[in-house]
Symmetry: C2
Subunit: 437 residues, 2 copies
């Protein structure tokens, strides 16, 4: 099959990430859609800027027409940001029969209504998963996954900069300004952080989510209450903590009887809630609906490759739709039918995990020495030992051992030997420890 030809508008952090991931994972992606993606032209503002790396095969140009008027291009990815000239470029590309993928939340929030109208007329897709919460497929989840529901609320941590600053203030016991500076050094906040720390970025994203959740047009920003995090002090974080809360910058859209609430502001959230435990630059959105009850999606809300993950997911959606068969454009098992490949399944005894062992051992000298010798014989290193005594002399004491990462086969052999020791009473209980690395 002919490749899907792509033109890029913009080659900043996300543009570079998109190109990198497309290049690195081209084989698996082709197995998913049945065709190759081919990035041909890239429009940049400043041609003289050095590009890392020398992206081989890419044609850099400062002439947008090379992409948006190019009859050889199927899909235009817009990663320039801002509403103009992004709007005009996309509008023209749609008129030229191209599908659009964009990460531009401001553009969709402010001019999405017009763009979708144009897209509908030309029967083309404007895909914008990357515009909200980076790599989290939250638009797809709400638009498709929760389509059965009358959605009652969306509450999210949807600005990574705010969440990073609030998390860092708490962890480092420092003021907003101190932490902002650090965030700027690390690239988690812009030189001019206004859009993020004043809540404007979150407001753009919330406009999009609220529309999809409730079936309302994209709202004007004036109708939304928006506060940032600049007035939060370290004292507030401490008092909130004492009261059982964590301070989070939340975007909230809620359906009540008389209408819709849409607001963005810092909030105290009970520490019991998963949302309160979302830290650093991570994002999360809690969705409530009448059938689903409550669900939550968590992941990186920004960054080069997480955002590229969403851009490419949109590319895959568009390419699958372009494949022609309405019915089976998404393969049942994600990969094309002839592209499932058998991979070796690792025999279980060749897997490695750390382990927790609990045994009852006779309370006499030398028992632990014997146990640890057997573990050592099987190349099992001990991370910690917990031996409990009530203070009285008991005949049998519980012993808990945590091992380091160990080959399952070694653990099984060691367990067999431990189990038959005269000094070990009853069954040894072994539970694996999962590092979730």
């Amino acid at each position: 099959m002919t490749p899907v030809r792509i033109g890029l508008l913009g080659f900043g952090t996300v543009g570079y990430g998109t190109w990198s991931v497309l290049t690195r994972n081209c084989d698996e992606i082709e197995r998913r859609i049945g065709r190759r993606f081919e990035v041909s032209h890239v429009v940049v503002k400043d041609l003289s800027k050095p590009r890392t790396p020398t992206a081989s095969g890419l044609h850099f140009t400062d002439n947008p027409s090379t992409v948006i008027d190019n009859p050889d291009i199927d899909i235009v990815i817009e990663l320039m940001g801002g509403t103009s000239p992004a709007y005009e470029y996309i509008d023209r590309a749609l008129a030229n029969g191209k599908h659009i993928v964009t990460a531009n939340k401001e553009l969709i929030a402010l001019r999405g209504n017009e763009l979708f109208e144009t897209a509908k007329k030309s029967d083309k897709i404007v895909a914008f998963e990357a515009s909200v919460c980076g790599g989290i497929p939250i638009i797809k989840a709400v638009r498709e996954g929760f389509a059965a529901n009358r959605i009652s609320s969306l509450v999210g941590i949807i600005n990574g900069t705010c969440n990073y600053i609030l998390s860092d203030m708490k962890d480092l016991k420092r003021s907003f300004n101190d932490v902002l500076e650090k965030a700027q050094e690390l690239g988690y906040a812009e030189a001019d952080p206004t859009f993020d720390v004043e809540g404007i970025d979150a407001m753009h994203k919330l406009v999009i989510l609220a529309s999809i959740a409730f079936g309302i047009p994209l709202q004007k920003l004036e109708s939304i209450h928006c506060e940032g995090i600049t007035t939060i002090s370290y004292d507030d974080i401490v008092y909130a903590d004492e009261l059982g809360f964590t301070i989070k910058h939340l975007a909230i859209a809620r359906r009540i009887e008389s209408g819709i609430e849409i607001r963005v502001h810092p909030s105290l959230v009970s520490k019991q809630r998963l949302l309160a435990n979302v830290n650093g630059v991570m994002n999360a959105v809690a969705v409530s609906g009448d059938a689903i009850g409550r669900a939550l999606f968590y992941g990186p809300g920004a960054g080069s490759e997480p955002t590229a993950s969403a851009v490419i997911a949109d590319l895959v959606d568009v390419a699958r739709a372009m494949n022609g068969s309405v019915n089976t454009s998404v393969p049942h098992l994600s990969f094309q039918y002839d592209q499932l490949k058998s991979l070796p399944i690792i025999p279980f005894n060749q897997t490695e995990t750390a382990n927790y062992l609990r045994m009852s051992a006779l309370n006499q000298a030398g028992v632990l020495a014997e146990v640890t010798r057997i573990l050592g014989d099987h190349e099992i290193s001990i991370e910690s030992i917990l031996q409990k005594s009530s203070g009285h002399h008991e005949e049998v004491l519980p012993v808990v051992i945590v091992t380091q990462e160990t080959l399952e086969a070694n653990m099984q052999n060691a367990l067999e030997e431990l189990q038959v020791l005269d000094t070990v009473i009853g069954e040894i209980n072994r539970i694996r420890i999962e590092a979730l690395a």
Copy 2:
């Protein structure tokens, strides 16, 4: 447009839930797909069983042919469970040109390869989101949302019964058997709980997820290591807790250099991890991929309406695909273009939240009385007051007040009055409290 005509095989908990949600939310669902769903025939085993409620307009029958051979039916929903005769019914329905929606994890895990082959030949969809993790759109997320990624691991709590039992053992300090009995009484565990507590249900789901994540055929169960939770004692939960872990029943699929690990067993998980904080019947799946990094999806993994939410999401996908236009089958804003409806946006000062107030007040008699009087004047009830003193006599003391739910307008008026009190020094800091109800 003509309605999409649906036939149901099975009318148990999920079947009833599906019908209820379709009926209750029919208007919003129609606004999403542009057509109505019409459930006509329902095949049940025992026609004499009384049906709650008298589902009006439904034609109950014990003859499966009424659905699978019915030329007036577009989509067959299979909710019978088990591999046979579900397989034969679906196979025949596909041959008859019907799309299939199923919640049957056992069937997909064991015979999916054959069914998808048949579906491909007849260019029809077999949709099975409801087969894994109930209401969480995890199949959609992995198959579409993460299509850019080389997925490295999926680690999930994907059996609600196991998670409920382990959570309850911890909370109630009771044994496995005690808690199992309670779970059975509450309907969270079957009379014969083997499938759940021995890990078999989780294994079926993991077979499906592993195939979608790694592009491998659905694996035979023999190649998967599977352990349940019957050997976990309350002591283990206590020791794990002391060591900083929570015990969870995990389903794990991981890509390592030499192949794929697929295993189901109890595991110790660091309490720092979100997965360790997923309690009761809730499910969660953590996905790692090279572009996204780490993401997590959380929600109800079973139950009548959460599972119905996934069944209907699949119905919506199929119906949108049937609509004809490949390109714009999923409307940009989820609802059909002419079906966006303006709803009133609640003026911000009419919203209600609890509030946290922090102020510096002169350390003199009557100050608190004045503050609380002003709050009372504006119908603001106080939940708690925190007044900090170092023990020495200080001129100014911090006062933190938590209010109950309050109308924003009242809070703003009260704040204006409080701010001008001579006894209040500097700015009052107010942060809203979000209940996440």
